[in-house]
């Protein structure tokens, strides 16, 4: 905190959507050279507030001041020109274009006659990519990058202009630890240059690791600002969700039953090879690894979405060939996919219909769909997962990111699967719901289901898993039991270091 003139101020911002008062008189002050966290439950209004600041949305009322100058953010470009850079929660990239074009999207350097100055573009981008220590070039097509690398492209945008303030809306949701380190370096760098950084995340450890102050939103209302150094997780949670949260690690190992799913020597092209593991009923198996480790691909193969080259899949000891998701579902496998917008939801459909989509064939009343049964399922999981929506008729696309994720989870939980595979289940989910989901996963296991959890968050994997499979470059390096695993050995394993001596 180098100066007392705030980098920006938001005053009494109100924003309503049909049926929703998303922001109700929110004020926020960000100082130059500080990292200011914005926290709140899913749907509290964080992204909406940032969209107002970034010129994407116009507020119903309230003022925005940049360096004490009242301004109107007419458009994203306008905001950018006033020094506010917005790194979005959802990827916002043109896949067919090159990395360089994406980084400088909207501001390609020009030569005469509106020509693009390719040399300058590539040069400037290369410099930024250097800083981010990524393994791709400015000319790479963005569509060819993994999700995490795409996120890095998005982050690279923060470094293109001389910003007064940079907004990161859940930038780490799809990053693994290696990129996170780079990201934190970038943020530290921005901070050192006197830029005000607004950082949205649901991950406590990140918040405490690198922010200076924390502002809290709840149900669209401002709940106060705390100095990070002077607060605790408990106090934060209390402010965010209005109650205390029991975060103690309560692993109640259920009776582990027979092997529900066994995979032997499964290989699929360049994606992964010779993957073997087993999950028992009553057990949670964690999958941990770096970006590109191939965990998602293994899950997709089990769900009938990919054709393996070699290997066997055994369900309840019986070898099966799973040719399509239909077959997988019939055999009691559920997959919560990692990309909720692309793979998990029909955004234009309402909440209820999304939730019951995989079982719509089974919910019959005569020739028709039994709407009553559907609504019952919806109500049950809305309460169970605390999904915030005005009603089942709301389009899923209008929900906040976290609530969308909950719909996807509910959709597959309600199938009562034998084997549940969840890929990044709590990406973008607030602490309260996160622990709720963790408990649900444990409960499912306790009820005799086999659960596979793929996660890039070490605390999560450690917290929910009975055993952990560590993958690196498409290979299983090691399988840990929850007793023997340590953070250190796990990090070693996912970096490809085979620790022969591990206990």
């Amino acid at each position: 905190m180098t100066s007392f003139t705030p980098a920006l101020r938001l005053q009494d911002i109100v924003k309503t959507f049909p049926g929703v008062r998303a922001l109700d008189g929110v004020s926020l002050t960000v100082l130059p050279g500080e990292v200011h966290a914005l926290m709140g439950e899913n749907g509290a209004g964080k992204s909406t507030l940032m969209r107002v600041l970034g010129g994407v949305l116009q507020p119903n009322s309230g003022r925005i001041l940049i360096g004490e100058e009242p301004t109107i953010m007419a458009s994203p470009l306008d905001a950018k020109s006033k020094g506010v850079v917005f790194i979005h929660q959802e990827l916002s990239l043109a896949e067919e274009l090159s990395v360089a074009e994406n980084v400088y999207l909207g501001e390609l350097p020009r030569k005469s006659f509106g020509r693009v100055d390719w040399d300058r573009l590539h040069e400037k981008t290369a410099a930024i990519l250097d800083k981010l220590k990524v393994g791709f070039t400015p000319q790479t097509r963005v569509g060819d990058l993994s999700l995490a690398n795409q996120q890095m492209v998005e982050i690279a945008r923060a470094l293109t202009v001389d910003a007064k303030a940079v907004i990161f809306d859940e930038p780490t949701a799809s990053l693994t630890d290696a990129e996170k380190v780079v990201l934190f370096d970038v943020i530290a760098d921005l901070k050192a240059r006197g830029v005000g950084v607004i950082y949205i995340s649901h991950r406590m450890e990140e918040i405490f690791h690198m922010t200076d102050r924390i502002s809290i939103l709840r149900d669209g209302q401002y709940r106060g600002t705390l100095h990070t150094a002077e607060t605790s997780e408990e106090e934060l949670t209390q402010l965010m969700i209005g109650r205390k949260l029991d975060l103690s690690r309560k692993i109640n190992h259920a009776e582990v039953g027979a092997v529900a799913l066994e995979v032997r020597g499964l290989s699929c092209g360049r994606l992964y090879s010779d993957v073997s593991f087993e999950v028992r009923r009553g057990e949670v198996l964690g999958f941990y690894g770096l970006v590109g480790a191939g965990r998602t691909e293994v899950a997709e193969t089990l769900f009938g979405l990919r054709d393996p080259d070699a290997g066997q899949i055994l369900l309840d000891g019986e070898e099966v060939r799973i040719g399509s998701p239909v077959e997988a579902i019939a055999r009691g496998i559920s997959l919560v996919p990692e990309d909720r917008k692309g793979q998990g939801l029909v955004l234009g459909m309402n909440c209820r219909d999304n939730m019951t989509l995989p079982q719509v064939d089974d919910l019959k009343a005569g020739p028709f769909v039994a709407e009553g049964a559907e609504i019952a399922i919806f109500d049950q999981y809305r309460d169970k997962l605390d999904i915030r929506t005005p009603g089942w008729r709301q389009k899923v696309g209008n929900l906040s990111g976290g609530n969308q994720q909950k719909i996807v989870i509910a959709k597959w939980l309600s199938m009562h699967p034998n084997v549940l595979i969840v890929d990044e289940p709590t990406r973008g989910i607030d602490v309260g719901s996160k622990s709720e989901i963790h408990n649900l996963i444990r409960d499912l296991a306790a009820n005799g289901f086999a659960v596979i959890v793929i996660s890039s968050e070490m605390p999560e994997v450690l917290h929910v898993s009975d055993r952990i499979v560590a993958m690196h470059h498409g290979k299983v390096i090691r399988t840990f039991t929850s007793e023997e695993v340590t953070e250190e050995s796990l990090v070693q394993a996912i970096s490809g270091i085979v620790a022969e001596t591990a206990a």
Partner: protein, 324 residues
Amino acid sequence: MAEMTKRDVGQFLARQGILVAFVIFIIGFTLANQRFLAVDNVLGVIRSSAILGVMALGVTFVVISGNLDLSVGSMMSFSTIVVLDLHDKIGPSLAIPAMFAMTMCLGALIGFLVGYLKLNSLIVTLGMLSAIHGLTLTYSGGKNMDIADKEGTWFSLFGQGSALGIPVPILMFALLAALLSLLLAKTAFGRKVYAVGGNGVAATFSGIRRARVVFLTYVISSFCVACAGLLQASRSMGSQNTVGQGLELEVLAAVILGGASLLGGSGTVFKTVIGVLILGFIQNGLLLVGLEFYVQYVVTWVIIILAVWLDIAANRGRLWSPIA
């Protein structure tokens, strides 16, 4: 409170932009020519819209599932010619099922190409438009097809008969609309059509056989085309090879006018029916007022854009697009 209600009414009106436009047009034409709303005329318009309408019902399914069908016009010519030809050869009671089978085979072929082979529907159906036209010409040798004994057959029932004072085409249109509306809105299949159109990948991830759903939408569409061909053949008891030419775009216009999004995932059978009626009444109304046929083109242009605009403006809550 009063203000709230007023806004609700406003919202409702805006949301039902299509209906509002419809009512305004009816009033306008009626003022211009009192005969417009005469029972004969109304029934007449609905009857002659029925053929287009029946096709539009099927295309609604295709469009909601995120595809297009430009082949319906040429397919309708095909079924008309086939049923007329077979009528004299094997009698109406065999000719009708035979024609349905042949037409639905074409629909199944398109469904296979678009659904299972995942070829782009715009191009596939454009290709089929041309190919089916060629097929029809080959079948008929390019000649007009006429039923020899027009008086001595019950075949005229579908196009010209009436029950309870209502012409059969209208009954058939209404019945099909009701059935298909239930199918789309109330059954698991209907739900899947919306899901596939809304987000095909997510549908696959939800265990929906996307290819099969798409395939079935084309089969439904071809079934509707066959019904339209039957109505058409029975109405005029004879036909040219090009009887359905150009209808594909009118059908599409009706479906869009009803508010189905071409991106898939939205639209309803009821709205399509309204879209069909609007087109029918505009055509008829302008004829009654005595305007040149091409004025109708311009009017249709304005109406399509206004109707769709109103519709989306209501959805986003503001008139002008937020695009910078």
